[in-house]
């Protein structure tokens, strides 16, 4: 059984079917019953002239009269016509009279053209008009019945056609995305072998040397020279009037209290000496207790005659980090309405005129974290106006904050960095605070650490070189 390929989906179908088995598209042009019958009659009338034996005789006569090239064309076998093909109706309805007027050679050539056209139509009948006055013509705009012809749309595969390389890329991307949110256990690298003996030796050495220095005294170290930032800070504090309110932020963790207490103490002592009224705040929860601890140490110094109850208020913890600082700088009495004792401190004569942070005479921030110092500089300093901002920083935070001090205009007006600056501050006022007491022991510890590092580095370098030479030598490589 011959087959017809569907013009829509390309699937082969049996010859006798009218619609495609795959996509239900029409396989044959649609014809009305009347037109079919009429075309059959016309075919029967014209068939004796076209298909009869006389035609061969007539062609033989014509061949004798025609040129040789035309005879070859006519002698070629006729192209096969597919069984399902129907002759175009417009040709079939051609009147016999008109056909009789044509020359025989032209008639035969016309037949060949019809066969050729029919082949083209059978190969792709997408433009073939099935019904109406234009039925059988190709390449013309379809009439309304064909446009409104309802048929099931051919099924199209929705599967994305991609290459293997693209598929590999997709899989890679999917794996990256899935791994991003997934749980990945750390690859446990073997811990470097460290002899606990060395740890114990270093710890015992530090302990014994520092303890001996504290108990029996030891090597005396020279005090550090004055630095410009310490001089500037002391001049700033010295320039404020006596008895004015000063905001002090105690923003360091208890772990760093050994260093930070010693750094902040000389500044606090100078403020107390000037009878400044201290308003203590903190942006870390343990800060208020740290401030109390620090002021109790100042209170123990008899020569200050520090009256705690009259000279400070502890405003407590400011939550919210940078946001809290900004809010406090704008309206401190709204953000912190009560102090740690539960009283309203803003009615105190020293604080009753405070409506913003700029109303304080000075702001002192003590912290060991660069981030905390930056928060104060970025959130509070723009609102300070002419009020100076002084920072007491640990040695680790100093290099990060120093650019703010060295900028122009200064964003930090005074700096006290590390124990060495605190000792300098003490020496300027001929006092002996915690920093000065620590200085010799602190310096001895640093010297000891340097000696241990240098000795260890020297020995380690020798061992490393020895291993490298041994591995490079033929004997060592064999071993």
């Amino acid at each position: 059984m011959s087959e017809i390929r569907c013009s829509m989906c390309g699937e082969p179908n049996p010859d006798d079917l009218e619609f495609c088995q795959n996509c239900q598209a029409r396989l044959k042009p649609m014809q009305s019953t009347f037109e079919s019958e009429q075309s059959d009659e016309l075919l029967q009338q014209s068939s004796p002239e076209i298909q009869g034996n006389d035609q061969n005789d007539r062609r033989g006569e014509i061949n004798q009269e025609l040129p040789s090239w035309l005879s070859e064309v006519m002698s070629e076998p006729e192209s096969p016509v597919e069984p399902g093909f129907e002759m175009p109706e417009i040709e079939q309805q051609e009147p016999d009279a008109a056909r009789a007027e044509l020359l025989d050679w032209l008639e035969s050539q016309q037949l060949d053209e019809q066969v050729q056209e029919s082949e083209e139509v059978s190969q792709g009948d997408e433009g073939l008009i099935g019904i109406g006055p234009l039925a059988g013509l190709t390449g013309v705009l379809p009439a309304e019945p064909d446009i409104s012809h309802i048929q099931k749309l051919p099924s199209q595969s929705i599967k994305l056609q991609i290459t293997e390389k693209q598929l590999a890329h997709v899989e890679t991307l999917e794996s990256v995305i899935s791994e991003e949110g997934g749980y990945h256990p750390f690859e446990r690298k073997p811990a470097p072998e460290t002899s606990s003996v060395w740890r114990i030796i270093i710890a015992v050495t530090f302990f014994l040397v520092i303890l001996a220095s504290l108990l029996f005294g030891g090597v005396e170290f020279a005090y550090p020279e004055y630095s410009t930032e310490v001089l500037t800070t002391s001049q700033l504090i010295g320039s404020i009037p006596n008895g004015v309110p000063v905001l002090v932020a105690v923003d360091y963790e208890p772990a760093l209290s050994g260093e930070m207490d010693a750094i902040l103490m000389p500044v606090l002592e100078q403020l107390v000496f000037k009878s400044s009224y201290l308003a203590l705040v903190s942006t870390i929860p343990t800060g208020p207790l740290q401030a109390e601890r620090l002021l109790s140490a100042v209170h123990q110094e008899d020569y200050f005659q520090f009256k705690v109850a009259d000279q400070y208020t502890n405003l407590g913890y400011i939550p919210g980090g940078a946001m809290g600082l900004l809010g406090f700088a704008q309206s401190p009495n709204q953000i912190v309405p009560l102090d740690l004792t539960g009283n309203y401190p803003w009615q105190n004569p020293a604080l009753q005129d405070i409506s913003s942070v700029a109303d304080f005479a000075l702001v002192v921030v003590a912290t060991e974290k660069p981030d905390t110092a930056q928060n104060w500089i970025e959130q509070v300093k723009p609102l300070l106006g002419s009020t100076p901002l002084v920072m007491a920083l640990s040695a680790q935070a100093g290099p990060v904050i120093r650019p703010y001090y060295e900028s122009s205009p200064k964003q930090v007006d005074g700096l006290v960095i590390g124990l060495s600056d605190a000792v300098t501050y003490d020496n300027m006022y001929q006092r002996t605070s915690t920093a000065t007491v620590y200085w010799d022991t602190f310096s001895l510890g640093i010297l000891l650490a340097c000696l241990l590092i240098m000795a260890g580095a020297f020995i380690s370098a020798l061992v490393w070189l020895y291993k490298g030479m041994r591995a490079a030598s033929p004997k060592g490589s064999k071993a």
Binding site: F221, S257, I318, G324, T341, S443, L452, A457
Partner: protein, 199 residues
Amino acid sequence: MAVIAVAAGLVVLIGYFLPMPLLGEVRALFLHWAMILFAIALIVGVINLARVHWLKVARRQPGYINSLALILALLFLVVVVGYFGPISPVSIWIFNYIQVPLESSLMALLVVVLALGGARLFGRHLSLFSVIFIFSALITLLGSVSIIGFSVPGLDEFAAWLSRVPATAGARGILLGVALGAVATGLRILTGSDRPYGG
């Protein structure tokens, strides 16, 4: 959610540039709310911490004794500080003689660890950068102390130069990078591209 977040951020940001009283009041209100939320989050965090360790104790998971100690200490502090007040002598005593020594001791262990690490650095990796690292650390440390009657010419000046020029230059670069990162992050949140709040 995103609309609320972006609008709140824009109001606070515009308040910096336009000194309008209304914007200032709205900005102050937002900041006040944020601080309250932050404080509540702190309390929620403490409650969650206690809950996690309580479940660990209830299920007898490994190390539950430590969790039990944490819960008991938390309850003790809440009762004592709540009864006597945050700056009472009892509270100050607990802070001075328990918390500060514990944290300071942990920090002091760093001395041993860092000294040992510096001593063994060349044994693990001897390179130009490790040599520069150890050399810079030693110069800075030695430059900060000086024995009376014993001084190395130029050591103090070189140590000061190290801390003021290369260290400050590096810190300045870090600050610029952090500032640019903060601007980019702020813009991403203001435009809704980044939504850390979800939604």
